[in-house]
């Protein structure tokens, strides 16, 4: 086991290294942000000063070597645009993104699980068919458009919820989050719903498929034959078994919720890491882009590792290669 974890960690470092090299050179290929950042009235000498100060006059590989040396001492470089270290800049934005991801995951589970079980139990009913075709919409409608529509409906027409920004922060158990105040919850609801829509559809379909499969299993029939109540069969025997694939998918997709909330964050002006990364891409702010991607890749690698390890504990049929032989 220890060998396996060590192996995986080593592999992760190789992945991180290759990724940082590709991103570093890729961003450089697009160009440098000098002519965009600089005041257009600048004289040629001033432009040259900035090029020198940011090191753009050096070859890319030399810049990359310099970057690696700094990373080794924990310095990911300074944002070109904001002039402050990139790592804290990103980390201070993560709580907002994670809280959005958690809440949207919550919304998608609360809505998708019951609907999915229902549609799986009664596949022939009209309401089930409506639910299933509705879930296609969740898949296919562009997040940006849905976000604007949600704002138009709930903020402009009905005036129930605020349209933009993050609400007041509250502190609970030492964690600061906008989930702990009413004002904060009212602000997070629309962006979380917007973000949840896509996940909601996939969880719904997964649940329905699982239900249809499990309901035909012998142990369900046996439970029924034993005379257990309908609700007990559904809530205990069925739900427990369909949850395994759902939980796996959610665990992995949580990473993508955190990493790709950019569109939702832009529409709702949510001050998370997604908005930061999209702004940085537009500005070719290389240190922030590279640092962000390194964090995200590390996050994914870590999530995958955890899932793999948990699997080997949960399901004895799954064996980790290299540990048992």
């Amino acid at each position: 086991m220890t060998v396996y974890i060590l192996q995986r960690t080593l592999q992760s470092f190789v992945v991180l290294f290759v990724m940082s090299l590709i991103v570093f050179c890729g961003v450089n290929l697009i160009g440098d942000p000098i002519y965009m950042m600089i005041s257009p009235e600048s004289e040629p000498a001033e432009i040259e000063r900035v090029i020198k100060e940011f090191g753009f006059d050096r070859p890319v590989l030399e810049q990359y070597w310099f970057f690696l040396k700094n990373v080794a001492s924990g310095d990911f470089g300074r944002s070109f645009v904001q002039g402050i270290p990139a790592l804290p800049l990103i980390l201070e934005r993560f709580p907002a993104t994670i809280e959005l991801a958690v809440f949207s995951l919550f919304i998608s589970l609360v809505i998708a699980l019951p609907l999915g079980v229902y549609a799986g139990l009664y596949p022939e009913r009209k309401s089930s068919k409506i639910i299933m075709s509705g879930s296609i919409l969740g898949f296919s409608m562009p997040t940006f458009w849905v976000g604007i529509m949600l704002i138009m409906l709930f903020a402009v027409k009905l005036d129930w919820l605020p349209s933009t920004g993050r609400g007041e922060l509250g502190t609970f158990l030492g964690i600061e989050s906008s989930l702990f105040t009413l004002n904060g919850l009212s602000h997070i609801f629309l962006p979380a719903l917007n973000l949840a829509l896509f996940k909601l559809s996939s969880v719904l379909r997964l649940t329905r498929a699982g239900t249809r499969e499990v309901i035909l299993q012998d142990y369900i029939k046996f439970a029924r034959a034993k005379g257990l109540s309908h609700s007990r069969v559904i809530n205990v025997h069925l739900l427990k078994n369909i949850l395994i694939p759902v939980v796996t998918v959610i665990g992995l997709e949580f990473g993508s919720l955190v990493a790709f909330s950019t569109v939702t964050e832009t529409v709702f002006a949510w001050p998370g890491a997604g908005k930061l990364i999209i702004d940085s891409v537009y500005n070719l702010d290389r240190p922030v882009i590279v640092a962000y991607l390194i964090i995200i890749v590390a996050f994914f690698v870590f999530l995958n590792l955890i899932v793999d390890i948990l699997y080997s504990f949960l399901d004895p049929r799954v064996r980790i290669k290299g540990s048992s032989e």
Binding site: S39, P40, A45, R49, V50, G83, I151, V156, P162, D279
Partner: protein, 526 residues
């Protein structure tokens, strides 16, 4: 019961502040400043935001005319010295007194902020600040320098006491963000909001709001929605497509005004072989754009009225020179070129291009209002005089680098490109110096001259204007230079002046500014 009590307590907390009549103004802006440090980054959103907290020696009114701010008066006392008299009743946000020492200190810090991506050095270069007494400062230059007040209207004055050894981070955290402006720094949450507090000791018109919240909302539709839902009271950059509908909406009041930004074409006129010009059919060809007749034909083939009406939805003004009327150095004689296909075709024939040629027009697609659509419309218009156009638009992140230095030896890469220029100093010398003067690194001229227009007569006029302290006389020379460089040489081809639109909640309006800034004082009761 306990829960009920808690709910009541919560309601009381929510309601009490509104009973206390605390006046809050919330503004949704398209651009977020990259720092609170007023000297870190010389760029629109930063300069606009810092006017809330800091003051300048010289201010700019909504038409960018210079007005007194921290200095009550200024005048040249000899050819190379300007005298600034300072107010003696100004206090910093911490209560300490403002004196000439702060001005001297500002002049040393502003050009030297480490890692600044665009420094204020360009406004302070070659100027020596001397303290005469606590409320008098002399600024000396080597040669006569007329644009002193314009230059200093861009530089925010900071406190010596708090600014010494302060880093950009110290300003972002608020520790050093001590100014003399109408509002005090309270809180800065990157990407979310900047909160300001009333400065009751402000020396100018008393600030009206107890709290001002500035929220960056980048997406246009989201900004409009925030205004419609009442989450913000004022927004800038109303998207042109929404203007027609919002005009009918009783919940909002739109205010539009021309900006100092001209949208124009830069044209390659320095290469015998231009990289994106081809003969019909794709063969090599001598660069036809070097011929002034071809450039004039292009200008005549542009239907500016149609461009304004169709592409810009009426939110632009046809342009015939570098700045709209009302600015210093604008020529009275120049009008936008008429739409005249016949003469244009005639000119093309005379120049020997009666059959036309192939050309790629390059433009950004996320920088100016409807920029990609402008490029497409231009392509259609030029096809009428036989110029077969291909249009290529790209994000500004890629575009500006290639447009400025994408070619061999860091020359501009494109043959014809759509660009915009906003005259920060509010004078025609700004575009003349940067866009039309001969590109010359040593002289510091033609920094953004991407077509490399070069005419010794124009250069001489610009030099003369930049050494003429007498304002009306300088205006005349600048107008003359414009008539020559744009009207006769077609060094650039102006298309239109951008019109900016703000949206305010019902009952209020915004006083439009030519520099496109959104400032608290411009938000007024109707």
């Amino acid at each position: 019961m306990n829960i009920f009590k808690k709910i009541v307590a919560l309601l009381v907390i929510c309601i009490v502040p509104s009973i206390a009549h605390s006046k809050t103004l919330k503004i949704g802006v398209a651009g977020e400043p990259s720092s609170i440090d007023p000297h870190y980054h010389n760029v629109g959103p930063n300069n606009m935001f810092s006017t809330n907290i800091f003051s300048m020696l010289v201010g700019q009114d909504e038409n960018q005319q210079t007005i007194p701010d921290l200095a009550t008066s200024w005048k040249p006392i000899n050819d190379t010295t300007w005298e600034f008299k300072l107010r003696n009743d100004v206090k910093w946000h911490d209560g300490s007194k403002f004196t000439a020492d702060d001005v001297i200190f500002t002049a040393t810090r502003a050009p030297n902020v480490p890692k600044s991506p665009a420094s204020f050095g360009i406004y302070l270069k070659g100027k020596t600040f001397v303290k005469i007494d606590d409320y008098t400062v002399h600024v000396k230059t080597e040669k006569p320098y007329p644009l002193m007040a314009n230059d200093l209207s861009v530089v925010k004055i900071i406190s010596k006491k708090h600014g010494e050894n302060a880093t950009t981070e110290d300003y972002n955290s608020g520790k050093a963000a001590i100014g003399t402006g109408p509002y005090k720094f309270k809180q800065y949450v990157k990407g979310d909001k900047i909160v300001l507090e009333k400065n009751s000791d402000y020396f100018g018109k008393k600030p009206e709001y107890d709290t001002v919240e500035i929220k960056p909302i980048k997406s246009g539709p989201a900004r409009v929605a925030a205004l419609l839902s009442g989450d913000v009271d004022l927004i800038d950059g109303v998207p042109p497509v929404d203007v027609k509908k919002l005009k009918k909406n009783k919940k909002v009041q739109l205010s539009s005004g021309p900006s100092n930004r001209v949208i124009y074409l830069h044209i390659d006129q320095f290469r015998e072989k231009s990289p994106h010009v081809r003969a019909i059919g794709g063969g090599d060809i001598k660069n036809p754009l070097m011929d002034v007749r071809v450039r004039k034909a292009i200008s005549l083939a542009i239907n500016r009225d149609a461009m304004v009406a169709k592409v810009m939805e009426g939110l632009a003004i046809p342009a015939g020179q570098l700045l709209p009327k009302g600015f210093h150095g604008v020529s009275e004689n120049m009008k936008p070129d008429p739409y005249d296909i016949k003469t244009a075709k005639q000119l093309m024939k005379e120049a020997g291009y009666g059959k036309g040629f192939e050309l790629t027009i390059h433009g950004p697609n996320d920088r100016y209002i409807n920029d990609a659509k402008i490029a497409e419309a231009l392509g259609q218009m030029l096809s009428k005089i036989g110029i077969k156009c291909k249009i290529e638009t790209m994000p500004k992140a890629v575009y500006f680098k290639r447009a400025s230095a994408g070619g061999p030896d860091k020359t501009p890469e494109f043959s014809m490109m759509v660009l915009g220029w906003g005259a920060g100093s509010g004078e025609a010398s700004s575009p003349l110096k940067s866009l039309l003067a001969t590109h010359n690194k040593e002289k510091g001229m033609g920094g953004a001259n991407r077509g490399r227009h070069s005419d010794p007569k124009v250069d001489a006029l610009i030099d003369k204007a930049l050494a003429t302290v007498d304002s009306p006389a300088r205006g005349k020379i600048l107008a003359e230079a414009t008539e020559l460089a744009v009207g006769k040489n077609y060094g650039i081809i102006p298309i239109h002046y951008q019109v900016n639109t703000w949206g305010a909640k019902a009952g209020y309006s915004y006083l439009p500014r030519t520099d496109e800034y959104t400032v608290v004082a411009g938000f007024q009761k109707k």
